[in-house]
Amino acid sequence: MERSATAARPKRGARDTGPDLGGLFEGYLDPRRPHAGAYDEMFAQDDAAVRQAYRRLHEQLAASQPGDLTARSEALDRALVDQGITFSLSGQERPFPLDLVPRVITAQEWARLEKGIVQRVRALEMFLADIYGDQQIVRDGVLPRRLITSCDHFHRSAAGVLPPNGVRIHVSGIDVVRDEEGTFRVLEDNLRNPSGVSYVMENRRTMARVFPDLFAKHRVRAVGDYAVHLLRSLRAAAAANVADPNVVVLTPGVHNSAYFEHSLLARQMGVELVEGRDLFCRDNVIYLRTTEGERQVDVIYRRIDDDYLDPVQFRPDSVLGVAGILNAARAGNVVIANAVGNGVGDDKLVYTYLPEILEYYLGESPLLPNVDTFRCWLPQEQEQVLDRIDQLVVKPVEGSGGYGIVFGPDSDPKELNALRKKIRAHPRGWIAQPVVQLSTVPTKVGQRLKPRHVDLRPFAVNDGKSVFVLPGGLTRVALPEGSLVVNSSQGGGSKDTWVLAARSSTADAELSGQGLVGAAALDEFAPEQGPELTSAQQQQQQQQ
């Protein structure tokens, strides 16, 4: 910061607000901002130079006036409300705020990320197959047996269930962050029911409607064909002798916070969206009740947690699931996607053993590093956590959606003592990480753009032959100043995530115009002409 502060012209005499970036970016790199050490994705730390990925975007933004920003932001909000994109926060439906500045990832950065994610999914598939089979990794002493047996999501009732094409992680969401150096690190794996892909697609549609001019200047890889890949994976998962597999999406119902996503995916795949009561099991075969009688179901993309899926095996009081479904899968008559028991693979303590898991199954070291993590169940590491608890982020191993996470630096001594007690009572239940100063991306705050912290959830789809990573992903942004909690359940927003196509790669050629958004056609539409595009969108909406 020293260099940038002296190189820049200080504004208004004594007050140092960092380099003068002008216009919308005024005061953006203010050295007094919280977590000033975080990696900013648009501006280099030392000389405030605009990074390659954002060069064109910056040019366009820098030319805008604060008034433009407001007008576009309002257009964006209207578009979101029109499309009915909401999520439930503590039981209340509200729009999921989409920021107007996209997050940009270069082709090279993406290539590395993609490789790392594919590597991880491949190893975790082998891990799950092993854990629900012979547990060779445990027999070989690579992992402690207790790591597995003490995991609440290790479902013994899933032992011996063999998916026909071997795939258990049909869909995964691998959460990554960029540390102070800009290095991508995996924060957690989501192998159960990762949600958010609908926001990826809807954010893109909305952005393309409101900002066609931005897309005209970039070669952004498309995300709209996600459902094609998902359907291919689900059809490939069916038993080998099923010619035309009947795939359904199983939702807990309209009250679920992700119901919008369930219905969107079912509609885009052209398959039935069903609830538990629409299905039944007879002699280990699953049927769908239809107006023309019962129809056998071959693959169920379920968006219901394991605990509610089968009252015979799990919670007997569940009315959301289908009694007998797990034995139907065991008998090979239906495929449950994602598989039952995947939670043992995304447990936050198991996560800390990912390097060992990668080495054991693939003989490779991680292409994407983890975030450094203390394991409270190892006495020595627990000691360190208890000593430095006020500097660490402490997380429950089971938690998701940011619930139960304690930020040491933000907690008072009383809270920390209560937490210490909890850790001592149940060390297996907790891990701790140093506070990662997540990277920042310019985000609209009032009339200006301000650095706000982001993470990224790319989605991977495994069809058994290859792992497809959707070029994009859900960038979540923490809206309050200085906040590092990006979960939508904690009041975060999102950004459209742009993965740029390589200038002249063969992959690029394969994509041709088809795989890219923002070809010249979009350029013709100024924001005012948006409605032209809108009519098609709304038509789709009406068909729901």
């Binding site: 011996g160 039944f280 280990n284 009252p311």
Partner: protein, 299 residues
């Protein structure tokens, strides 16, 4: 292996060794009667005796009324599971499990591990599941203290026998006080219970002193000197196995060794892992549940 000398058995007159093996037929009938017709009944039965080094399963069959198509698989614990479902409305469900089993010789305590062995990380890791607290076998201060007192001056296998003896002495066998969902602590507070409670209570104390131990479900021929050809009313029974250098069973309900009278079906951390019949159905509550076990010594 050496024979235990701390608790000479009083009820089992056959004594260790020299008992030979028995061939037994066991017929286990479970019946449910419902007040009103029920539908969508999904069930899993764990009623098939094991076939292993100690015990040989000659023949086995599970039949239901109304008849069903059954699906069999081996679960995580190695237990043979028979799953079946009924969809037509019915007011009665009967499950009959019949098996012929050749049981093994009397099981003697195993003096194969020291306390230091049991504390070793590798062992604790390997048998971690059998040292866990569960809903049926929770950690309990008083039980822990009692168990630790019994450990003083005893080897691990002697402690197993001492704990089983204490459970046998302090608990009164009585039906009706505890139910299928009662924990070891519930039984301890009531000082009454049935074999399931004796087993859970023994497990709670064994795990308190770090002896890996598991729940065994099975059957018992009630007569130590069973007459060949005579059918007796048996019991759906439960006992424990402890690891002291190897697994060996003991029956705390009767304070006896596992003998040719015992037929074992399943093991797990507690009752929940081995429950003989569990299921869900749609309809009113069951008006009556009947269970009968008939055991015949065939040879």
């Amino acid at each position: 292996m050496t024979a235990a000398s701390t608790t000479p058995s009083t009820t089992d007159t056959t004594g260790p060794n020299g008992t030979g093996t028995w061939r037994l037929r066991v017929v286990h009938t479970t019946g449910y009667r419902y007040q009103a017709p029920v539908v969508q009944s999904f069930n899993e039965a764990r009623l098939t005796p094991r076939s292993d080094r100690w015990q040989n399963l000659v023949v086995t069959r599970i039949e239901t009324t109304p008849p069903t198509r059954s699906f069999r698989y081996t679960d995580y614990w190695g237990t043979e599971v028979t799953a079946f479902d009924l969809h037509a409305p019915h007011t009665e469900l009967k499950i009959v499990a019949s098996s012929v089993v050749e049981t093994g010789e009397t099981v003697l305590p195993l003096d194969g591990a020291t306390w230091a062995d049991l504390r070793a990380d590798r062992l604790v890791d390997r048998y971690g599941e059998y040292l866990e607290w569960t809903r049926y076998v929770p950690r309990h201060k008083e039980l822990g203290q009692l168990a630790r007192e019994l450990r003083k001056g005893r080897k691990p296998h002697e402690t197993v026998l001492a704990i089983a003896e204490l459970v046998h002495d302090r608990l009164t066998y009585k039906r009706g006080t505890t139910g299928v969902h009662s924990s070891a602590v519930d039984a301890w507070e009531a000082r009454e219970g049935v074999c399931q409670d004796y087993a859970h209570l023994t497990l709670a104390m064994l795990r308190a002193v770090g002896i890996p131990s598991r729940y065994v479900s099975g059957y018992l021929h009630t007569k130590p000197d069973g007459v060949v050809g005579e059918t007796v009313v048996g019991e759906s029974h439960a006992w424990v196995e402890a690891w002291t250098g190897g697994w060996w069973g003991f029956d705390p309900t009767n304070d006896i060794e596992i003998s040719p009278r015992h037929i074992w079906v399943a093991t797990g951390r507690d009752y929940a892992d081995v429950s003989p019949v569990k299921g869900t159905y749609s309809g009113g509550p069951a008006a009556a549940i009947e269970v009968s076990v008939e055991v015949t010594r065939l040879a």
